[in-house]
Symmetry: D2
Subunit: 132 residues, 4 copies
Amino acid sequence: MEAHRFFVQIFYEDTDHSGVVYHANYLKYFERAREAVIGAPRLVRLWRDQGLGFAVYKATLDYQDGAEFGERLEIRSIWRRESDYRLIWTQEAWRPGATRAAVRAEIHLVCLDRDRHLRPIPPWEPAAEPMD
Amino acid sequence: MEAHRFFVQIFYEDTDHSGVVYHANYLKYFERAREAVIGAPRLVRLWRDQGLGFAVYKATLDYQDGAEFGERLEIRSIWRRESDYRLIWTQEAWRPGATRAAVRAEIHLVCLDRDRHLRPIPPWEPAAEPMD
Amino acid sequence: MEAHRFFVQIFYEDTDHSGVVYHANYLKYFERAREAVIGAPRLVRLWRDQGLGFAVYKATLDYQDGAEFGERLEIRSIWRRESDYRLIWTQEAWRPGATRAAVRAEIHLVCLDRDRHLRPIPPWEPAAEPMD
Amino acid sequence: MEAHRFFVQIFYEDTDHSGVVYHANYLKYFERAREAVIGAPRLVRLWRDQGLGFAVYKATLDYQDGAEFGERLEIRSIWRRESDYRLIWTQEAWRPGATRAAVRAEIHLVCLDRDRHLRPIPPWEPAAEPMD
């Protein structure tokens, strides 16, 4: 399976006073990439029509390098449906020209209803729909 | 009227790679201070029981100095009910030992229902209730 | 002068529990758009080679409407060099299909050196250089 | 060893449109708690005098529940020096009155110099110094 590619421009807001991207922000970038795969219109309809949303259940992050202001990060994502109740994503953030990922993550997603009860992952065809 | 005082500790997350607090974050600090004045339990009840929330309608910010990592900012807030539909807050962020405010703001608040229609500001006694 | 157009996809991270974009985040979107106009590589070189950066000196924001999850906002920016020391930006955030801007802002930028002393705005040709 | 306790008030800025705290924000809360343990003045001196800072090398997060607007979370932290080069923190976020943690994390910290080279963890006495 080929990884889905998504790009993130690093702005002032992303860095901290040490000069590199603040560590929590990579979780944002990985989520943006997942939303691009699943498709924002589908996520909007799921929430509005069925009251369903995805939630992070488990996240593991390995930090090897720090991205800097002005860079354009490449987020590579692959995913698998481990069960009716869990999607597992392997995601990486690559700095321009790098020979290894700056940050690697494994993210487990579940599907919750408005009362935050577990629900089966709805059927979907990843990336079948453009993001906007 | 004496200003309400609220304190904000500046963490890594607050700064950007220029070494000082990212400019948008002062809007967060001013909101935290307003929520301390109004009282979080009251805000929770307003939203849950009446579907009402406060929204920023207008904000003016003057930046004179930049706060740094590790500092504890003092947020000074005064407010007035300009009409049944608008609260006006004058808020300042002070660095430790400073002789003038680092950032000054005037923030206009309105009250909206869940459909985002304008509603009268509910009666309240500021700071009558502790925050937590 | 024609406005520069820049697009922002609204993700989970952008919204708050009232269902719309958190008010401070528009300052981020306006800054992203300004960085797209000025050019990230130029900003990186200015900081690295001359120790110069832009800072927000004054910001005025008018909120008329709230953007929602899944939308793609259009940021329209025009700017003028008011003096050797100040750039003034008029920026608007437009929801899809809207007939008026959701948020309008006027942002005053100055140029500071590493010691945060005021310096003349360096000469630049806006948008002459692609962002990445 | 008794856990260090630190409190986080949940504001509008912390939640997303699903009504609970945005998942990446717990990494911020855990960092705030670590900075409270280590002491902001010490962190400022380490950076200014020796060019040293702590960086997250690995993070594992388990999400069991979601905190809501207006709540005051308790962050419980314990830590150990695993080697001269690594501190391991076990941290939990507790909602008021909960019988189990909402989020649990294991965070590995390393110490980096300004060139982002690995350096031994400097000697320190946790919590020996008040935060502000």
